[in-house]
């Protein structure tokens, strides 16, 4: 997984020539990323979490502008405030000067606009962008998701949760350290669905003396609680000890979370997310592809299906999981996953740094399993979920394309159906 990939962001910008300064976006933004002066409305790239809440309410369309930018030279707020028009997209040459490879560009965050490359089959001229294929609508049988019950724009800014569990889910004694953390909300409402995420507000201030902004984490437990019938949920959090360049840095939020003791309280915002949701109709198939802590929503969906199966009142479809990590020791939940019955879930691991085998990525294993994956792709009851590092996105979507094509299916029309029917969901970071 290329560490430098995330150094490129899709920076969200507002077109000053079209914006009428109506303030709707600033009033809507759940994370306070939008601000203004006498001249322009602008988006703070370090705060924007690409939730897209601001897109629909904008009356002008000026809100819907994106630029590929190396994170380190993302346009700062002060500079944006001086603009009379948007700067042009950086050329590949300029990007290369900034140390960004073409590969990194291809593994970009999704633009929200309808993808040009998905609509144009002559992909030869167009850079293949996995992100373009992701859906923005939930499956038709998704349950209703509550969103933004707590946040800067909600009536209550955050809700207090109590830590009722904090266990390590990777082997002890390695430099990586992933925790399974259970939060209980007591009597406070916090209804969630598998695939949604929550925000954690770390206490204290950052180096600039500002209050930390909330960090988002996917929920790892099903809708009726980590423990069924309890108002709690779980998170999968990896302790961040190095930045994307490998330089030592202690992630403020992840270290705060991993060090929590049972009985401690945390401030929570959310829930967030209304499209990365699981289907609920009988015989619906779920294909899950993840790396590292991207396993959290997959654990949630799998566990919900397991509970339904135990109730014997629901006829589930096929579950297929592709799970990648550098080594088996780094794989969260490795033990419990091994114990799930084969006729319940078809689990496939890919280890990219295992000492006893060749480097294998999730997309390699997907190709190996083409014979079983292809019929699932052809079935309109199949829903695909991808979660993990941004750099996996392109490879995974390319693998889906190849599996479909090799089975004689028309990938472009298939991809459009998957997208428009809310059947291919990408969540990468």
């Amino acid at each position: 997984m290329g560490a430098s990939d995330s150094a490129v962001i899709k920076q969200h910008l507002i077109d000053p020539e079209i914006c009428i300064r109506c303030n709707t976006c600033e009033a809507t933004c759940p994370v306070g990323a939008i601000t203004h002066d006498d001249r322009n409305y602008v988006v703070d790239a370090s705060r924007c979490n690409l939730c897209m809440d601001c897109i629909a309410p904008c009356p002008t369309g000026s809100i819907d502008n994106w630029r590929n930018m190396p994170r380190v030279i993302a346009y700062p707020v002060a500079e944006q405030m001086l603009w009379d028009e948007l700067p042009p997209e950086l050329t590949p040459l300029q990007l290369a000067d900034a140390g960004v490879s073409a590969d990194a560009m291809a593994a970009q965050t999704p633009p929200v606009s309808l993808p040009a490359s998905a609509a144009q089959p002559d992909a030869g001229a167009v850079v293949f962008r996995g992100a373009d294929y992701g859906a923005s609508v939930p499956p038709w049988s998704a349950a209703h998701a509550y969103t933004n019950l707590y946040g800067p724009k909600a009536q209550i800014k955050s809700v207090t949760a109590t830590v009722t569990g904090n266990v390590r889910v990777t082997e002890v004694g390695r430099e990586y350290d992933t925790h399974h953390i259970v939060l209980d909300f007591g009597a406070m409402p916090f209804p969630v669905l598998e695939g949604q995420s929550i925000g954690i507000v770390p206490p204290g201030h950052d180096a600039h003396g500002r209050v930390h902004h909330p960090r988002q984490y996917s929920i790892a437990s099903p809708r009726n609680g980590e423990r069924p019938g309890y108002n709690n949920l779980s998170l999968t959090i990896k302790r961040v000890l190095a930045d994307h360049q490998g330089r030592p840095v202690r992630g403020a939020a992840s270290n705060y979370m991993c060090d929590l003791k049972v009985g401690d309280t945390v401030q929570v915002t959310g829930p967030f997310g209304a499209s990365f949701l699981m289907p609920n109709h009988p015989r619906s198939n779920i294909v899950m592809i993840c790396t590292g802590t991207g396993s959290a929503p997959m654990r949630a969906m799998t566990e919900w299906r397991r509970r339904l199966r135990a109730s014997a009142k629901f006829e589930g479809g096929k579950l297929m999981l592709f799970f990648g990590a550098r080594t088996q020791q780094e794989l969260p939940y490795f033990g419990p996953l091994q114990n799930l019955p084969r006729d319940f879930i078809d689990t496939n691991f890919a280890f990219s740094r295992a000492t006893d085998g060749p480097r294998r990525y999730v997309q390699d294993v997907m190709r190996e399993r083409a014979a079983d994956l292809a019929p699932l792709l052809a079935d309109h009851n199949t829903f695909i979920y991808v979660c993990g590092l941004k750099s996996m996105e392109e490879g995974v979507v390319l693998a889906l394309r190849d599996v479909a094509r090799d089975a004689g299916q028309d990938w472009e029309s298939l991809a459009v159906r998957f997208q428009s029917q809310g059947r291919l969901h990408l969540e990468t970071y």
Binding site: E17, A56, P59, D64
Partner: protein
């Protein structure tokens, strides 16, 4: 709580079904509203299917659903923005007390008056604009006009809900009267003067949505601060819709200026006669329309010194624009503010108690916001390489309310004699000749993707649809 119940006759997110009496009352008002729409709403639009946005919930994901609907079937309903538990009154004499969920007896008459005055402007503007569909410069603009119209209709619903729910029989009678008054009717006119003027052409329409709907924005912002919580929540949601109206105005005028600038460059002249012969609207005419709509609109803020304004503020009924973002004591006793008065042929500033000058405070905030948009129009001229600039007139120009009414002041702020006013008025305000010329340009262009000669196409369509999308399907 933000989910809207569409299974009921009246879509709502206020649990209308739990209040049978209120539900019945509003269900009786509903057919009268639709009758009003048929009679006074957009002309000859009954069978058109319009690409409209409809709110399905008040959260960001759900409030802008797009689809083709017939306007009389639009799901007008009652939507309140999310409430804040234990919200406190944050200005005036009741500062720090809990916000009111019902109307205190002593403020009943004033609140009713505020709500009726606001509510009256909503159907009034629909009536003022009802003929415009016949002369739309494009299908895109026709759709925008209708979107503005249905949302003004919904704003009427918002105010009628408050009247029915909180003001008993008086409220129900006021709600009926809102459907009975008619813009420009000699016997039963709308309450505010500016809302009895016809909107005769699309330049006026764009100016109206830019300037006068912006007055709506500022009034709604001031009411969104109200101690009367249902009013605050309902106006908050209305503001989201109001933004679209100002977009229609600002981009409409901007596109007209863009077209005129292109013609000036093509013809290499800014001669009014030549430009008019080329079928575009000359910049001096646009400037006169600005002068007119700006001055008429700033009158809507009321007298510059007003004891009513002081009462409304101190009693917590109506705050200032962005009250919550200001760092003063939010009580304002003993503070002063400068207002203009004319003495011996000159304008002077005089200090008056700020509480009495709150109309002027809101007017000045409005002016600042309006000027910013006019500067954006100037950028269009700048981009075209033209030295011409547009501006708003002095705030004492052409005033009919307050201390400045009756004083003749030029657009640049000089007090002038009656004689000079008469000699220059056609340079300062649209003349009959200007209006006749603009009216002569108004032909109907409604083929998808086609635009009248006097206006440039927009840079992008609605909801990411192409500019030549079929925004209106005719029967």
């Amino acid at each position: 709580m933000s989910a809207i119940n569409y299974s009921e006759k009246i879509p709502n997110n206020v649990n209308l079904g739990e209040d049978r009496a209120l539900q019945r009352a509003l269900e009786q008002w509903q057919p009268n509203f639709v009758n009003w729409w048929d009679e006074a709403g957009p002309e000859q639009s009954r069978d058109m299917e319009v690409y409209l946005r409809t709110a399905v919930s008040v959260d960001p994901q759900g409030w802008a659903e797009f689809g083709h609907v017939k306007m009389r079937d639009y799901r007008w309903g009652i939507f309140l923005g999310p409430g804040t538990a234990d919200r406190e009154i944050h200005f005036g004499d009741h500062k720090g007390e809990k916000a009111w969920s019902d109307v205190p007896g002593e403020h009943r008459a004033n609140l009713r008056r505020i709500i009726v005055t606001q509510g009256d402007t909503e159907p009034a503007s629909v009536e003022q604009q009802r003929h415009l569909g016949q002369t739309a410069p494009s299908m895109y603009d026709l759709r925008n006009l209708f979107q503005v119209n249905v949302e003004e209709g919904r704003h009427l619903w918002a105010m009628v809900y408050l009247l029915h729910k909180h003001f008993g029989r008086d409220g129900r009678e006021e709600a009926e009267a809102l459907l009975e008054r008619r813009s420009g009717d000699e016997n039963n006119p709308r309450i505010l003067g500016a809302f009895n003027e016809a909107t005769p052409d699309w330049l006026s329409f764009f100016m109206f949505t830019y300037f006068t709907d912006r007055d709506g924005k500022f009034q709604l912002c001031a009411l969104a601060e109200s101690a009367f919580d249902p009013l605050a929540r309902t106006t908050k949601f209305m503001l989201t819709e109001e933004a679209h109206h100002m977009f229609v105005g600002e981009s409409g005028v901007s596109r007209i200026i863009q077209r005129t600038a292109a013609a000036i460059n093509e013809l290499k002249t800014d001669d009014v006669g030549k430009l008019r012969a080329a079928g575009v609207i000359d910049l001096p005419t646009i400037q006169r329309y600005i002068n007119f709509h700006f001055s008429v609109t700033i009158d809507l803020f009321g007298a510059d010194e007003s004891s009513n304004a002081a009462t409304f503020y101190s009693s917590g009924l109506k705050g200032r624009f962005e009250e919550g973002k200001r760092d003063d004591d939010h009580v304002l006793k003993g503070q002063t503010y400068k207002v203009l008065e004319a003495k011996e042929g000159k304008l002077f500033e005089k200090e008056v108690p700020m509480l009495n000058a709150l109309n002027e405070v809101l007017r000045d905030d409005y002016i600042k916001d309006s000027v910013a948009g006019v500067n954006r129009w100037n950028k269009v001229l700048d981009k075209a390489g033209l030295p011409h600039r547009l501006s708003v007139p002095h705030k004492a120009f052409h005033r009919n309310i307050g201390a400045l009414s009756g004083v003749k002041v030029s657009p640049d702020g000089r007090v002038v004699s009656e004689a000079e006013w008469k000699a220059k008025v056609d340079e300062w305000l649209p003349s009959a000749d200007d209006r006749a010329f603009v009216a002569s340009l108004m032909g109907r262009v409604v083929e998808p993707g086609k635009f009248a000669n006097w206006i440039a196409p927009p840079v992008m369509g609605i909801n990411r649809q192409p500019v030549d999308f079929e925004y209106v399907r005719f029967a």
